[in-house]
Amino acid sequence: MSDRAPVPLLALRGIGKSFYGVRVLDGVDLDVAPGEVHAVVGENGAGKSTLMKIVSGGYVPDGGTIEFAGRSCVFGGPRDAQRAGIGIIHQEFNLLPERTVAENVYLGHEPKRRGLVDRRQMLSRTRDLLATIGETTLPADAVVGRLGVAQQQVVEIAKALALDARLLIMDEPTAALADHEVELLYGLVRRLQQQGIGLLYVSHRLTEVFDLSDRITVLKDGRRVQTMPTTEATAEDLVRQMVGRELSSYYPDRAAPEDIGAVRLAVRGGGNRKLRDIDLDLRAGEVLGIGGLQGSGRSALARALFGVEPFTTGLVTIDGKPTRLRSPRAATRAGIAYVTEDRKGEGIVARQSVLDNALLASRAVFPVRSGRAARTVRVRELLATVEVRAAGDDQEIRFLSGGNQQKVVLARWLALDPLILLFDEPTRGIDVGAKSAIHDLVRQLARAGAAVLMISSELPELLGMSDRMLVMRDGRVAGELPAGSTEEDVVALAVGTVSEAAA
């Protein structure tokens, strides 16, 4: 499969991009040949999505050139890229759930006959398109909202092909798919390849990368580390190149064994729609890291513990007492705090002041616990302790940097003196300086006796922070690892199959 055409379909040379003075991409070169599957791998924050957005017209690069089908291109927006023949399939689909497959595929360029939409032709062309990618069971007049995720993805691909896409970008295409659906996607990718369509394939999952790609490019910290034929790559190499940040980067000291106290939170046989057979002990004074790939149930675990999507089976105890965590409010009252992964969507109240954001949980849950003035003084102190940098505490929080917003969210919970803290990707989208500040805070909380559960998809962070780790896979706990485990250990548990193949 690695016979490469002499003229690449897409050629990127020296692509660079900065946001607010932070260099996100730096001199990246990349080629895709017709009919080639070129995988792009890297950690969160390595610059993969930025690169994909540049190729698909979402961002304009600061430097470098894009050549597509032999011509140099400047894309002013997604539609320019579409017209040139570049389609992108996002993690969240751009489809109208209330409309049919054909209506979605041809939205914006419906076939016409005598001025009217030619439904018959639209249906038959959609059927043809679906057939060319080997999808014959999907009716062109089915309502998209009733389709499974994998089928919706097929629709999304058909929509891109209807615009005569010659290069398709797939951004984490399997993130939302179940295992058997991944097989379907494999077949689809191969058929696209046979038609000479070039694919840029972004994924966390190394299994897929090895199964599907002809070449692999590894990105780290906005630079290209290496591009190699897949046949010459090994899982160990890739993981090392992806996450091989010098572990010397600073993390606070771990807890000494005598600092770790009794079991604070225990789960036995916990399960719900996304989780099965969860057993877990979380002790006072420790940081328990939760690893695993996207969709492995990491976030679902935190959300179950916080009562967002509660456990439907099993038993939860706090300090030995059985507790039902049916809502975020109940969990808050039980002494649990939750710093969410989606800071913008569910962490901050964007147009309210820093102080209002920091006081939100206190006001909602314990309105009369202490005097109002005393409480405000205390929260102001907390904001100072976590070193929020803002023009003032009456500044709207949306004008703060991600790191400072996260500190405000943290202060909101610290005001309640929680016994148990759940962190979901606490440093995502935060600059390096603020990151280590957050790390220090997490450790200080544990040292002060809190039980901390921390989800992270950044292996160095997970390894550097955790006193102990649980790695999740397919909604279960795949295994436990002690402090001092290696990145390979975590990857092995998280991906399962790759470790066997590579070992």
């Binding site: 209330e98 209506e103 939205l107 914006g108 089915a142």
Partner: protein, 324 residues
Amino acid sequence: MSLLSLRAARRPVPGVFVALAITLAVGWLIVMIDGGQLFNQSTTVSLLHVAAGLGLVAVGQTLVILGGSLDLSVAYVISLSTLVAAETMNGSDGALLPAIGLALTVSAAVGLLNGLLVTRLRINAFIATLGVGLLLKGYLDNGYDGPAGTTSPTLVQTLGYQRIGPVPLSFLLLVAVTAACWFALARTRFGHHLVAVGGDPEVARLSGVRNDRVLVVAHMLCSLCAGLTGIYLASRLGSGAPRVGTEGLYDLESIAAVVIGGTALAGGRGGVVGTLGGVLLLASIDAIFNQLEVDAFFKQVIRGAIIIAAVAVYARRAMRKAAV
């Protein structure tokens, strides 16, 4: 999931028609027990007349709501249209066509204004159309104390009172307008794009739809429908009536008929056929209560309750679907 189930629900009988059938059946029974007759000539005719007036404006309202917008100015457009039509005709048949043309042009211009306020100035549709409605209200209140102008006799005889069997001409007009709108939604690019804009403006934009233009056209069509209602009402009343739109609560009732007909208030889902069902349901309840000689005000109480209940049922269904 079988292929059949994917498609079977594609064009379900809107729930509103089931409700309509049950209402008519139960109403027929109760009226009979009461010693009356629900489906005699005069009740049927008046039912269809009520439906024609509300229906024309509700079908137009459906278009803007499908596109994720809303029009609170229709009641005033209706009143304005009756006046423009009746005053231009001034009792003679000679000016019939110019009068209709002028009334519709004025209406469309109001729709254009609504559309531009919503798209260009990005004013919330609720406020924009409320504001335009107030502008018109001031003009009407200031210029008119009571009926003005005289509708041409031909129009009164035809659109106003002519019928084929028990079916008034005006109801046939409603059916024709509904069919035209249904056709536009199903078979024109405009229709496809309108539903897309209402469903997800961002998806529509990324697919190359010109959202603003689509919404402006929808607003113009909505106002045109309101203008048509005005012409119809002028033909019934014999003159222009400056307060007929507001007194008939055509703004709120048209929105109610649309949502009872299964169109989502947020846009992107529904259609004019359901709206026709919603209109017929409201008109039937009217007719049944008239037959039972129930207090007119009780009707309104029931109406309010039905609107809330219908939307609650739709919301419940949507929730169940989301849970699957």
